[in-house]
Protein backbone atom coordinates (compact mmCIF):
# COMPACT_ATOMS: atom_id res chain seq x y z
CA UNK A 1 0.00 0.00 0.00
CA UNK A 2 1.19 3.44 0.83
CA UNK A 3 4.89 3.86 1.40
CA UNK A 4 6.45 7.14 2.21
CA UNK A 5 9.19 6.86 -0.37
CA UNK A 6 6.72 6.01 -3.11
CA UNK A 7 4.46 8.84 -2.23
CA UNK A 8 4.01 11.10 -5.20
CA UNK A 9 5.87 14.36 -4.77
CA UNK A 10 8.81 13.23 -2.76
CA UNK A 11 10.89 12.06 -5.67
CA UNK A 12 12.27 15.29 -7.00
CA UNK A 13 12.98 15.49 -10.68
CA UNK A 14 15.05 18.65 -11.05
CA UNK A 15 15.00 18.57 -14.83
CA UNK A 16 11.27 18.90 -14.78
CA UNK A 17 11.21 22.05 -12.76
CA UNK A 18 12.06 24.67 -15.34
CA UNK A 19 11.32 23.30 -18.76
CA UNK A 20 11.50 26.58 -20.55
CA UNK A 21 11.17 26.79 -24.29
CA UNK A 22 12.76 29.48 -26.37
CA UNK A 23 10.63 32.49 -27.10
CA UNK A 24 9.92 33.70 -30.66
CA UNK A 25 12.97 34.85 -32.59
CA UNK A 26 13.24 38.60 -32.81
CA UNK A 27 10.01 39.33 -30.99
CA UNK A 28 6.49 39.36 -32.42
CA UNK A 29 5.44 40.73 -35.80
CA UNK A 30 2.66 43.34 -35.89
CA UNK A 31 -0.10 40.80 -36.60
CA UNK A 32 1.20 38.51 -33.88
CA UNK A 33 1.26 41.44 -31.49
CA UNK A 34 -2.33 42.27 -32.33
CA UNK A 35 -3.42 38.66 -31.92
CA UNK A 36 -1.49 38.34 -28.67
CA UNK A 37 -3.16 41.47 -27.41
CA UNK A 38 -6.60 40.08 -28.28
CA UNK A 39 -5.74 36.87 -26.49
CA UNK A 40 -4.61 38.81 -23.50
CA UNK A 41 -7.79 40.88 -23.42
CA UNK A 42 -10.09 37.90 -23.57
CA UNK A 43 -9.56 34.95 -21.26
CA UNK A 44 -12.33 32.40 -20.95
CA UNK A 45 -11.89 30.49 -17.74
CA UNK A 46 -12.78 26.91 -17.06
CA UNK A 47 -12.82 26.92 -13.27
CA UNK A 48 -12.32 23.33 -12.25
CA UNK A 49 -13.51 23.25 -8.68
CA UNK A 50 -11.19 20.51 -7.53
CA UNK A 51 -10.88 21.64 -3.93
CA UNK A 52 -11.75 24.35 -1.49
CA UNK A 53 -10.11 26.99 -3.68
CA UNK A 54 -13.23 26.98 -5.83
CA UNK A 55 -14.85 29.18 -3.25
CA UNK A 56 -12.50 32.00 -4.19
CA UNK A 57 -13.53 31.96 -7.82
CA UNK A 58 -17.06 33.24 -7.08
CA UNK A 59 -16.13 36.60 -5.58
CA UNK A 60 -13.54 36.96 -8.30
CA UNK A 61 -16.15 36.64 -11.04
CA UNK A 62 -18.99 38.53 -9.39
CA UNK A 63 -19.61 42.15 -8.49
CA UNK A 64 -17.10 42.55 -5.66
CA UNK A 65 -13.92 41.94 -7.66
CA UNK A 66 -15.39 41.88 -11.16
CA UNK A 67 -12.85 39.98 -13.21
CA UNK A 68 -14.83 40.85 -16.33
CA UNK A 69 -13.01 44.21 -16.25
CA UNK A 70 -9.96 42.30 -17.48
CA UNK A 71 -11.92 40.33 -20.05
CA UNK A 72 -11.95 37.30 -17.79
CA UNK A 73 -15.26 35.41 -17.93
CA UNK A 74 -16.41 31.93 -17.18
CA UNK A 75 -16.66 29.37 -19.96
CA UNK A 76 -19.15 26.56 -19.84
CA UNK A 77 -17.19 23.80 -21.52
CA UNK A 78 -13.51 23.04 -22.05
CA UNK A 79 -13.89 23.56 -25.80
CA UNK A 80 -14.54 27.24 -25.26
CA UNK A 81 -12.03 27.88 -22.51
CA UNK A 82 -8.58 29.45 -22.65
CA UNK A 83 -7.53 29.10 -19.04
CA UNK A 84 -7.93 26.09 -16.85
CA UNK A 85 -8.01 27.06 -13.20
CA UNK A 86 -7.21 24.20 -10.87
CA UNK A 87 -8.66 25.55 -7.70
CA UNK A 88 -7.14 23.88 -4.67
CA UNK A 89 -5.97 20.41 -3.77
CA UNK A 90 -6.13 17.87 -6.55
CA UNK A 91 -6.99 14.27 -5.76
CA UNK A 92 -5.71 11.58 -8.07
CA UNK A 93 -9.26 10.64 -8.96
CA UNK A 94 -9.90 14.23 -10.02
CA UNK A 95 -6.59 14.41 -11.85
CA UNK A 96 -7.96 12.16 -14.57
CA UNK A 97 -10.87 14.54 -15.19
CA UNK A 98 -8.61 17.56 -15.11
CA UNK A 99 -6.31 16.03 -17.71
CA UNK A 100 -9.27 15.19 -19.87
CA UNK A 101 -10.61 18.72 -19.61
CA UNK A 102 -7.21 20.19 -20.37
CA UNK A 103 -6.71 18.07 -23.46
CA UNK A 104 -10.13 19.07 -24.75
CA UNK A 105 -9.30 22.76 -24.61
CA UNK A 106 -8.25 24.41 -27.84
CA UNK A 107 -4.79 25.95 -28.10
CA UNK A 108 -3.54 28.42 -27.05
CA UNK A 109 -4.49 27.34 -23.55
CA UNK A 110 -3.09 28.08 -20.13
CA UNK A 111 -3.23 26.52 -16.70
CA UNK A 112 -3.41 28.43 -13.46
CA UNK A 113 -3.06 26.41 -10.28
CA UNK A 114 -4.07 28.15 -7.11
CA UNK A 115 -3.44 27.36 -3.50
CA UNK A 116 -0.51 25.81 -1.71
CA UNK A 117 -1.86 22.32 -2.21
CA UNK A 118 -1.20 22.46 -5.93
CA UNK A 119 2.40 23.46 -5.29
CA UNK A 120 3.47 21.05 -2.62
CA UNK A 121 0.41 19.34 -1.28
CA UNK A 122 -0.12 21.93 1.43
CA UNK A 123 -1.80 20.46 4.44
CA UNK A 124 -2.23 17.22 2.47
CA UNK A 125 1.55 16.92 2.10
CA UNK A 126 1.52 13.29 3.27
CA UNK A 127 -1.78 12.21 1.79
CA UNK A 128 -1.74 9.09 -0.36
CA UNK A 129 -4.18 10.40 -2.94
CA UNK A 130 -3.43 14.08 -3.33
CA UNK A 131 -1.26 15.33 -6.13
CA UNK A 132 1.65 17.28 -4.67
CA UNK A 133 3.11 18.95 -7.72
CA UNK A 134 0.60 19.60 -10.44
CA UNK A 135 3.27 20.64 -12.97
CA UNK A 136 4.45 17.05 -13.18
CA UNK A 137 1.15 16.13 -14.86
CA UNK A 138 -0.02 19.28 -16.53
CA UNK A 139 2.01 22.28 -17.74
CA UNK A 140 1.16 24.90 -15.15
CA UNK A 141 1.67 28.43 -16.42
CA UNK A 142 1.05 30.26 -13.21
CA UNK A 143 0.98 29.20 -9.58
CA UNK A 144 -0.86 31.42 -7.17
CA UNK A 145 0.11 30.50 -3.64
CA UNK A 146 -1.74 31.01 -0.42
CA UNK A 147 -4.14 28.96 1.57
CA UNK A 148 -6.42 30.19 0.15
CA UNK A 149 -5.22 32.97 -2.14
CA UNK A 150 -7.56 35.94 -1.92
CA UNK A 151 -9.29 37.21 -5.06
CA UNK A 152 -6.80 40.07 -5.19
CA UNK A 153 -4.02 37.51 -5.45
CA UNK A 154 -5.93 35.71 -8.16
CA UNK A 155 -6.31 38.94 -10.10
CA UNK A 156 -2.60 39.54 -9.77
CA UNK A 157 -1.94 36.05 -11.07
CA UNK A 158 -4.24 36.57 -14.03
CA UNK A 159 -2.65 39.91 -14.83
CA UNK A 160 0.79 38.31 -14.71
CA UNK A 161 -0.45 35.62 -17.09
CA UNK A 162 -1.85 38.30 -19.37
CA UNK A 163 1.55 39.95 -19.40
CA UNK A 164 3.20 36.75 -20.50
CA UNK A 165 0.61 36.24 -23.20
CA UNK A 166 1.07 39.77 -24.48
CA UNK A 167 4.85 39.33 -24.60
CA UNK A 168 4.39 36.19 -26.62
CA UNK A 169 6.27 33.97 -24.19
CA UNK A 170 5.71 30.29 -24.96
CA UNK A 171 2.83 28.89 -23.01
CA UNK A 172 2.66 25.66 -21.10
CA UNK A 173 0.66 24.06 -23.91
CA UNK A 174 3.78 24.17 -26.08
CA UNK A 175 5.74 22.46 -23.32
CA UNK A 176 3.01 19.83 -23.05
CA UNK A 177 3.17 19.22 -26.77
CA UNK A 178 6.98 18.97 -26.74
CA UNK A 179 7.27 16.72 -23.74
CA UNK A 180 4.07 14.73 -24.02
CA UNK A 181 5.84 11.43 -23.29
CA UNK A 182 7.23 12.71 -20.04
CA UNK A 183 3.87 14.05 -18.91
CA UNK A 184 2.08 10.88 -19.97
CA UNK A 185 4.62 8.72 -18.14
CA UNK A 186 4.05 10.71 -14.97
CA UNK A 187 0.30 10.52 -15.38
CA UNK A 188 0.45 6.81 -16.01
CA UNK A 189 2.49 6.32 -12.86
CA UNK A 190 -0.26 7.67 -10.63
CA UNK A 191 -3.32 6.73 -12.64
CA UNK A 192 -2.21 3.20 -13.48
CA UNK A 193 -5.04 1.18 -15.01
CA UNK A 194 -7.23 4.18 -14.72
CA UNK A 195 -5.31 5.90 -17.50
CA UNK A 196 -7.25 7.73 -20.19
CA UNK A 197 -7.84 5.90 -23.48
CA UNK A 198 -5.16 6.36 -26.13
CA UNK A 199 -7.23 8.34 -28.58
CA UNK A 200 -7.47 11.21 -26.12
CA UNK A 201 -3.81 12.10 -26.56
CA UNK A 202 -2.21 10.15 -29.37
CA UNK A 203 -2.84 13.03 -31.75
CA UNK A 204 -0.10 14.85 -29.89
CA UNK A 205 2.31 12.29 -31.30
CA UNK A 206 0.96 12.63 -34.82
CA UNK A 207 2.08 16.25 -34.84
CA UNK A 208 -1.43 17.42 -34.32
CA UNK A 209 -2.62 16.42 -37.76
CA UNK A 210 -4.46 13.24 -37.06
Amino acid sequence: MYRHSHCEGFQQDPTAQELGLAGPEGGLGPLEQLVAWMRKRSLFVLAFGTGCGAIEMRPLMTSRFDAERFGIVNAATPRQADVLVISGYLAIKTLKRVIRSYEQMQEPKYVIALGSCTINGGMYWDSYNTVKQVHRYLPVDMYINGCMPRPEALIEGFVALQGRIARGEPGGYQRYRERIDWYKANQRRVLGDNMLPDYTYDWYHAGGIA
Binding site: V35, M38, R39, R41, S42, F44, T62, S63, R64, D66, E68, R69, F70, G71, N74, A76, T77, P78, R79, Q80, D82, Q104, M105, Q106, E107, P108, G208
Partner: protein, 300 residues
Protein backbone atom coordinates in the same frame (compact mmCIF):
# COMPACT_ATOMS: atom_id res chain seq x y z
CA UNK B 1 -20.53 47.31 -58.98
CA UNK B 2 -23.10 48.84 -56.72
CA UNK B 3 -23.65 45.45 -55.11
CA UNK B 4 -19.92 45.00 -54.60
CA UNK B 5 -19.88 48.03 -52.33
CA UNK B 6 -23.31 47.62 -50.84
CA UNK B 7 -22.98 44.02 -49.65
CA UNK B 8 -19.71 44.45 -47.70
CA UNK B 9 -21.11 47.69 -46.29
CA UNK B 10 -24.17 45.89 -44.95
CA UNK B 11 -22.16 43.05 -43.49
CA UNK B 12 -19.66 45.46 -41.92
CA UNK B 13 -22.44 47.65 -40.51
CA UNK B 14 -24.19 44.74 -38.91
CA UNK B 15 -20.95 43.35 -37.51
CA UNK B 16 -19.70 46.64 -36.07
CA UNK B 17 -23.10 47.50 -34.62
CA UNK B 18 -23.28 43.96 -33.31
CA UNK B 19 -20.14 44.05 -31.21
CA UNK B 20 -20.78 47.59 -30.04
CA UNK B 21 -24.33 46.76 -28.97
CA UNK B 22 -23.24 43.62 -27.18
CA UNK B 23 -20.35 45.49 -25.58
CA UNK B 24 -22.85 48.02 -24.36
CA UNK B 25 -25.07 45.19 -23.16
CA UNK B 26 -22.26 43.82 -21.00
CA UNK B 27 -21.43 47.24 -19.61
CA UNK B 28 -25.06 47.97 -18.91
CA UNK B 29 -25.53 44.67 -17.12
CA UNK B 30 -22.37 45.29 -15.14
CA UNK B 31 -23.59 48.69 -13.96
CA UNK B 32 -26.91 47.21 -12.94
CA UNK B 33 -24.94 44.68 -10.90
CA UNK B 34 -22.81 47.50 -9.44
CA UNK B 35 -19.53 46.65 -11.09
CA UNK B 36 -17.41 48.29 -13.75
CA UNK B 37 -17.75 45.71 -16.46
CA UNK B 38 -15.56 45.18 -19.52
CA UNK B 39 -14.62 47.59 -22.25
CA UNK B 40 -17.26 48.30 -24.87
CA UNK B 41 -15.04 46.55 -27.41
CA UNK B 42 -14.87 43.39 -25.33
CA UNK B 43 -17.02 41.42 -27.80
CA UNK B 44 -14.70 42.33 -30.63
CA UNK B 45 -11.74 41.09 -28.59
CA UNK B 46 -13.50 37.87 -27.69
CA UNK B 47 -14.57 37.26 -31.23
CA UNK B 48 -11.18 37.95 -32.79
CA UNK B 49 -9.45 35.88 -30.16
CA UNK B 50 -11.60 32.90 -31.09
CA UNK B 51 -11.12 33.53 -34.79
CA UNK B 52 -7.34 33.47 -34.23
CA UNK B 53 -7.20 30.38 -32.06
CA UNK B 54 -4.41 28.17 -33.29
CA UNK B 55 -6.32 24.93 -32.89
CA UNK B 56 -9.84 23.88 -33.84
CA UNK B 57 -11.37 20.48 -33.33
CA UNK B 58 -13.79 19.13 -35.91
CA UNK B 59 -16.06 16.11 -35.64
CA UNK B 60 -16.38 15.42 -39.34
CA UNK B 61 -17.65 17.10 -42.50
CA UNK B 62 -21.20 17.79 -41.32
CA UNK B 63 -19.83 19.30 -38.12
CA UNK B 64 -17.60 21.55 -40.17
CA UNK B 65 -20.39 22.72 -42.47
CA UNK B 66 -22.78 23.60 -39.65
CA UNK B 67 -21.06 26.84 -38.60
CA UNK B 68 -20.56 27.70 -42.26
CA UNK B 69 -24.30 27.27 -42.88
CA UNK B 70 -25.24 29.35 -39.86
CA UNK B 71 -23.00 32.23 -40.95
CA UNK B 72 -24.26 32.01 -44.51
CA UNK B 73 -27.78 32.08 -43.09
CA UNK B 74 -26.97 35.19 -41.04
CA UNK B 75 -25.36 36.94 -44.00
CA UNK B 76 -28.28 36.03 -46.25
CA UNK B 77 -30.76 37.31 -43.68
CA UNK B 78 -28.93 40.59 -43.24
CA UNK B 79 -28.75 41.06 -47.00
CA UNK B 80 -32.52 40.64 -47.33
CA UNK B 81 -33.34 43.33 -44.76
CA UNK B 82 -33.40 46.91 -46.04
CA UNK B 83 -31.35 48.99 -43.61
CA UNK B 84 -32.29 52.41 -44.93
CA UNK B 85 -35.41 54.05 -46.30
CA UNK B 86 -35.42 56.15 -49.50
CA UNK B 87 -31.83 55.29 -50.21
CA UNK B 88 -30.04 53.11 -52.71
CA UNK B 89 -27.46 52.15 -50.09
CA UNK B 90 -27.60 49.36 -47.56
CA UNK B 91 -30.42 47.65 -49.44
CA UNK B 92 -28.76 44.38 -50.39
CA UNK B 93 -31.21 42.05 -52.08
CA UNK B 94 -34.21 43.21 -50.08
CA UNK B 95 -36.13 44.03 -53.26
CA UNK B 96 -36.26 40.30 -53.98
CA UNK B 97 -37.45 39.27 -50.54
CA UNK B 98 -40.27 39.93 -48.14
CA UNK B 99 -41.14 39.80 -44.47
CA UNK B 100 -42.24 36.15 -44.36
CA UNK B 101 -39.06 35.12 -46.14
CA UNK B 102 -36.96 37.04 -43.61
CA UNK B 103 -38.74 35.37 -40.69
CA UNK B 104 -37.94 31.99 -42.19
CA UNK B 105 -34.36 32.98 -42.96
CA UNK B 106 -33.87 33.82 -39.28
CA UNK B 107 -34.21 30.14 -38.39
CA UNK B 108 -32.50 28.75 -41.48
CA UNK B 109 -29.00 29.08 -40.07
CA UNK B 110 -29.71 27.69 -36.61
CA UNK B 111 -31.42 24.68 -38.19
CA UNK B 112 -28.37 24.05 -40.34
CA UNK B 113 -26.19 24.30 -37.29
CA UNK B 114 -28.46 21.84 -35.49
CA UNK B 115 -27.26 19.22 -37.98
CA UNK B 116 -23.68 19.93 -36.97
CA UNK B 117 -24.62 19.70 -33.30
CA UNK B 118 -26.25 16.35 -33.95
CA UNK B 119 -23.30 15.01 -35.90
CA UNK B 120 -20.93 15.88 -33.05
CA UNK B 121 -22.69 13.16 -31.07
CA UNK B 122 -22.83 15.13 -27.85
CA UNK B 123 -26.18 14.56 -26.15
CA UNK B 124 -26.03 17.91 -24.35
CA UNK B 125 -25.89 19.70 -27.68
CA UNK B 126 -28.91 17.85 -29.00
CA UNK B 127 -30.70 18.55 -25.75
CA UNK B 128 -30.01 22.24 -26.32
CA UNK B 129 -31.25 22.03 -29.90
CA UNK B 130 -34.46 20.36 -28.76
CA UNK B 131 -34.97 23.11 -26.22
CA UNK B 132 -34.30 25.69 -28.88
CA UNK B 133 -36.82 24.17 -31.25
CA UNK B 134 -39.37 23.90 -28.46
CA UNK B 135 -38.87 27.54 -27.56
CA UNK B 136 -39.12 28.45 -31.24
CA UNK B 137 -42.44 26.64 -31.38
CA UNK B 138 -43.62 28.78 -28.48
CA UNK B 139 -42.34 32.14 -29.64
CA UNK B 140 -43.15 31.95 -33.34
CA UNK B 141 -46.91 31.79 -32.79
CA UNK B 142 -47.35 35.20 -31.10
CA UNK B 143 -44.43 36.67 -33.04
CA UNK B 144 -45.92 35.78 -36.37
CA UNK B 145 -49.39 36.81 -35.24
CA UNK B 146 -48.10 40.25 -34.29
CA UNK B 147 -46.31 40.59 -37.63
CA UNK B 148 -49.44 39.37 -39.40
CA UNK B 149 -51.35 42.22 -37.78
CA UNK B 150 -48.81 44.59 -39.31
CA UNK B 151 -48.91 42.87 -42.68
CA UNK B 152 -52.70 43.09 -42.64
CA UNK B 153 -52.60 46.74 -41.63
CA UNK B 154 -50.51 47.66 -44.67
CA UNK B 155 -51.88 44.87 -46.87
CA UNK B 156 -48.43 43.90 -48.02
CA UNK B 157 -45.61 41.61 -46.97
CA UNK B 158 -42.93 43.83 -48.44
CA UNK B 159 -40.75 45.50 -45.81
CA UNK B 160 -40.10 48.38 -48.22
CA UNK B 161 -43.78 49.12 -48.60
CA UNK B 162 -44.39 48.92 -44.85
CA UNK B 163 -41.48 51.27 -44.25
CA UNK B 164 -42.59 53.69 -46.94
CA UNK B 165 -46.06 53.93 -45.44
CA UNK B 166 -44.68 55.38 -42.19
CA UNK B 167 -43.46 58.83 -43.12
CA UNK B 168 -43.99 60.73 -39.87
CA UNK B 169 -43.95 59.82 -36.20
CA UNK B 170 -47.74 59.79 -36.15
CA UNK B 171 -47.69 57.09 -38.82
CA UNK B 172 -45.24 54.78 -37.12
CA UNK B 173 -46.69 51.34 -36.62
CA UNK B 174 -45.72 51.69 -32.99
CA UNK B 175 -48.27 54.53 -32.75
CA UNK B 176 -50.93 53.27 -35.14
CA UNK B 177 -50.84 49.66 -34.01
CA UNK B 178 -49.29 49.52 -30.53
CA UNK B 179 -50.94 46.21 -29.72
CA UNK B 180 -48.96 44.48 -32.48
CA UNK B 181 -45.76 45.81 -30.96
CA UNK B 182 -46.71 44.58 -27.51
CA UNK B 183 -47.54 41.16 -28.94
CA UNK B 184 -44.17 40.72 -30.56
CA UNK B 185 -42.02 42.37 -27.89
CA UNK B 186 -41.55 39.37 -25.56
CA UNK B 187 -41.23 36.76 -28.32
CA UNK B 188 -38.68 39.07 -29.91
CA UNK B 189 -36.63 39.02 -26.72
CA UNK B 190 -36.71 35.24 -26.88
CA UNK B 191 -35.66 35.24 -30.51
CA UNK B 192 -32.67 37.40 -29.48
CA UNK B 193 -31.85 34.62 -27.01
CA UNK B 194 -31.92 37.07 -24.11
CA UNK B 195 -33.02 36.48 -20.54
CA UNK B 196 -35.52 35.39 -19.30
CA UNK B 197 -35.85 33.09 -22.33
CA UNK B 198 -32.21 32.05 -22.63
CA UNK B 199 -32.56 28.51 -21.39
CA UNK B 200 -31.34 27.07 -24.70
CA UNK B 201 -27.67 27.72 -24.10
CA UNK B 202 -27.80 27.64 -20.33
CA UNK B 203 -24.25 26.80 -19.26
CA UNK B 204 -25.18 25.33 -15.92
CA UNK B 205 -27.97 23.09 -17.19
CA UNK B 206 -27.18 21.78 -20.64
CA UNK B 207 -23.47 22.55 -20.71
CA UNK B 208 -23.80 25.50 -23.13
CA UNK B 209 -26.42 23.62 -25.15
CA UNK B 210 -25.94 23.70 -28.92
CA UNK B 211 -22.47 25.23 -28.59
CA UNK B 212 -21.09 22.49 -26.38
CA UNK B 213 -18.71 20.98 -28.93
CA UNK B 214 -17.75 24.15 -30.75
CA UNK B 215 -14.43 25.65 -29.83
CA UNK B 216 -11.68 27.65 -31.47
CA UNK B 217 -12.51 29.26 -34.77
CA UNK B 218 -15.92 27.60 -34.91
CA UNK B 219 -16.95 29.40 -31.77
CA UNK B 220 -15.65 32.65 -33.23
CA UNK B 221 -17.77 32.08 -36.30
CA UNK B 222 -20.83 31.36 -34.16
CA UNK B 223 -20.28 34.56 -32.17
CA UNK B 224 -19.93 36.55 -35.39
CA UNK B 225 -23.20 35.32 -36.81
CA UNK B 226 -24.98 35.86 -33.51
CA UNK B 227 -23.96 39.52 -33.43
CA UNK B 228 -24.87 40.10 -37.08
CA UNK B 229 -28.20 38.34 -36.83
CA UNK B 230 -29.14 40.29 -33.69
CA UNK B 231 -28.53 43.55 -35.50
CA UNK B 232 -30.54 42.25 -38.43
CA UNK B 233 -33.47 41.53 -36.13
CA UNK B 234 -33.26 44.96 -34.51
CA UNK B 235 -33.13 46.68 -37.89
CA UNK B 236 -36.12 44.70 -39.06
CA UNK B 237 -38.12 45.88 -36.07
CA UNK B 238 -36.99 49.45 -36.66
CA UNK B 239 -38.19 49.13 -40.26
CA UNK B 240 -41.52 47.67 -39.26
CA UNK B 241 -42.44 49.64 -36.15
CA UNK B 242 -40.27 52.74 -35.91
CA UNK B 243 -40.68 53.98 -39.44
CA UNK B 244 -37.29 52.90 -40.73
CA UNK B 245 -34.35 55.27 -41.01
CA UNK B 246 -33.20 57.59 -43.74
CA UNK B 247 -29.57 57.59 -42.71
CA UNK B 248 -27.22 55.49 -40.67
CA UNK B 249 -27.28 57.69 -37.57
CA UNK B 250 -31.04 57.59 -37.25
CA UNK B 251 -30.87 53.85 -37.79
CA UNK B 252 -28.33 53.46 -35.00
CA UNK B 253 -30.33 55.70 -32.69
CA UNK B 254 -33.57 53.82 -33.27
CA UNK B 255 -32.01 50.38 -33.11
CA UNK B 256 -30.21 51.39 -29.95
CA UNK B 257 -33.43 52.62 -28.35
CA UNK B 258 -35.04 49.30 -29.13
CA UNK B 259 -32.02 47.41 -27.85
CA UNK B 260 -32.06 49.43 -24.65
CA UNK B 261 -35.71 48.54 -24.07
CA UNK B 262 -35.05 44.85 -24.60
CA UNK B 263 -31.91 44.89 -22.47
CA UNK B 264 -33.70 46.62 -19.63
CA UNK B 265 -36.45 44.02 -19.65
CA UNK B 266 -34.12 41.08 -19.84
CA UNK B 267 -31.67 42.37 -17.22
CA UNK B 268 -34.08 42.01 -14.34
CA UNK B 269 -35.88 38.73 -14.95
CA UNK B 270 -34.63 35.28 -14.00
CA UNK B 271 -34.47 32.46 -16.48
CA UNK B 272 -37.61 30.48 -17.29
CA UNK B 273 -37.68 26.77 -17.97
CA UNK B 274 -38.43 25.78 -21.56
CA UNK B 275 -41.94 24.62 -20.91
CA UNK B 276 -42.64 27.64 -18.72
CA UNK B 277 -41.48 29.89 -21.54
CA UNK B 278 -43.63 28.11 -24.12
CA UNK B 279 -46.63 28.13 -21.85
CA UNK B 280 -46.07 31.81 -21.16
CA UNK B 281 -45.91 32.61 -24.87
CA UNK B 282 -49.11 30.73 -25.52
CA UNK B 283 -50.92 32.48 -22.71
CA UNK B 284 -49.78 36.09 -22.38
CA UNK B 285 -48.46 37.31 -25.75
CA UNK B 286 -50.76 35.03 -27.73
CA UNK B 287 -53.73 36.04 -25.58
CA UNK B 288 -52.85 39.65 -26.24
CA UNK B 289 -52.57 38.79 -29.92
CA UNK B 290 -56.04 37.27 -29.94
CA UNK B 291 -57.36 40.40 -28.25
CA UNK B 292 -55.59 42.40 -30.92
CA UNK B 293 -57.12 40.32 -33.69
CA UNK B 294 -60.59 40.68 -32.19
CA UNK B 295 -60.15 44.40 -31.68
CA UNK B 296 -58.57 45.35 -34.98
CA UNK B 297 -59.88 42.72 -37.39
CA UNK B 298 -63.16 41.31 -36.16
CA UNK B 299 -64.71 44.45 -34.74
CA UNK B 300 -64.05 46.58 -37.79
Amino acid sequence: MHYLLDIPAMIATSYVLGFLFYGFYRQYNARIQRRWGPSIFQNLYDNLKFLFKSETLSHGPMFFFGPMIIVSGAVTTVLFIPFLKDSIWLQGFSQHGNLILIIYLFVLGPLGNALAVGSSGNPFGVMGVTRGLTRLMGLEVPFFLGLALVMLQYETVSVHAIMAAQSSIGEWTLVTNPIAFLVILLPFIASMNAAPFDVVGAPQEVYAGPRVEFGGRFLGVLMTQNMMLSVGKLVLLVDLFLGGATNLFILIAKAFALFLLITSISAVFPRLKTEQAVDFFWKVPLGLGVVGVVATVWLQ
